[in-house]
């Protein structure tokens, strides 16, 4: 009933023509915006990037061939780079996934709950290992 599969739409970007040429290459059309919290049992599957304006609760899953950004607490299962893209990233305001996958890497958070950071974090593959870093340290 709530299982929704959002397919990739390849219609051309209406504003793309107005960008400078060098910027146009950076524009990614395949991003969808999910404007709600994903609850247990709900799933988003998209060929492209996914941005969630809400939480991803335990029992919910987000699968994307590109990057995943969660503007809230990420507690469910996420898989970025489903088609094998190891450059895909996962960013969340509170990164507490049940399981985190990028490309063909599967990780889960450490058993001890000692780290419970209160700031946005980013997960990506560095030197063949999934690493979690503070988001602020990455943007500069």
């Amino acid at each position: 009933m709530t299982k929704e599969t959002l397919s990739n739409s390849t219609t051309s970007h209406p504003f793309l023509g107005s960008f400078p040429v060098e910027l146009a290459e950076m524009v990614d059309e395949n991003t969808i915006l999910v404007q709600r919290t994903l609850r247990s049992g709900q799933s988003i599957c998209h060929d492209g990037n996914v941005v969630v304006l809400g939480d991803v609760n335990p029992g919910a899953e987000v699968l994307a061939s590109g990057n995943i950004i969660v503007m809230g607490s990420l507690r469910g299962v996420v898989h970025a780079g489903v088609k094998g893209d190891t450059n895909a990233i996962i960013l969340a305001f509170r990164l507490r996934p049940t399981q985190l996958r990028i490309g063909n890497h599967i990780t889960r958070p450490p058993e001890d709950e000692s780290s419970d950071p209160d700031y946005p974090e980013l997960a990506r593959i560095k030197n063949g290992v999934v690493t979690i870093e503070t988001f602020n340290s990455v943007i500069k």
């Binding site: 247990s40 939480d55 609760n57 029992g59 507690r75």
Partner: protein, 264 residues
Amino acid sequence: MGEVIVVTSGKGGVGKTTTTANLGTGLASYGKKVCLVDADIGLRNLDVVLGLENRIVFDIVDVTSGVCRIRQALIKDKRYEGLHLLPAAQTKDKTAVNPDQMRELCKDLRKEFDFVIIDCPAGIEQGFKNAIAGADRAIVVTTPEVSAVRDADRIIGLLEAADLREPKLIINRYRPKMVNRGDMMSIDDMNEILAIDLLGVVPEDEQVVVTTNKGETVVRDDKSQSGQAYRNITRRILGENVPLLNLEEQDGLFSALKKMIGLK
């Protein structure tokens, strides 16, 4: 026109039936005309909890399949003026009724009653779909356990998908002492995940078992804290603004003194 409220949870054993019985009795005690509908076909309990088992002649399946009229199947609770029960069938299963029939039934019942409260079966299959089909509002019951909260979250998602917006939450069997020790999920922990309006918190109370086994409801017990919690929830349903019960009070004189001198 009355209001149809479904009481649901996903997980079994969290207190849907107890909650339904208490809210029904509570609303009736405020002079409302209430009909309780047991949608748990094949595993009916509501009649037992209300002590009305021996008065069942017709049931919900008889009504939806046209064997009898609604009026014939309704059982009037003689103890509480205005309280009625439409019992479930015990010898059939969930497929004996479909969502369209439930919608029709709710439409008829809301003409007669101020409140129609549907006791939903556990699970998310046909029984659940039947129970929510005719409802205007939903109450989700959960206990402070990860499994129950997870199922509640799933249920809230399904309710929203079925256009039952803004369900309300009742936290049942809450034990403040365990929460204080860090051994049980707190109200905030649950709110962080479920993020829906809290209708009330019912503390764990032996009195619930005592009254239920006698076919009575704890909401009529003036001395018990759980009864007070259910009375408060009843008033909130009626639109009153009632603050949450202070569950710490039962800790005794010592903690009350500590609180007074600000130690908390």
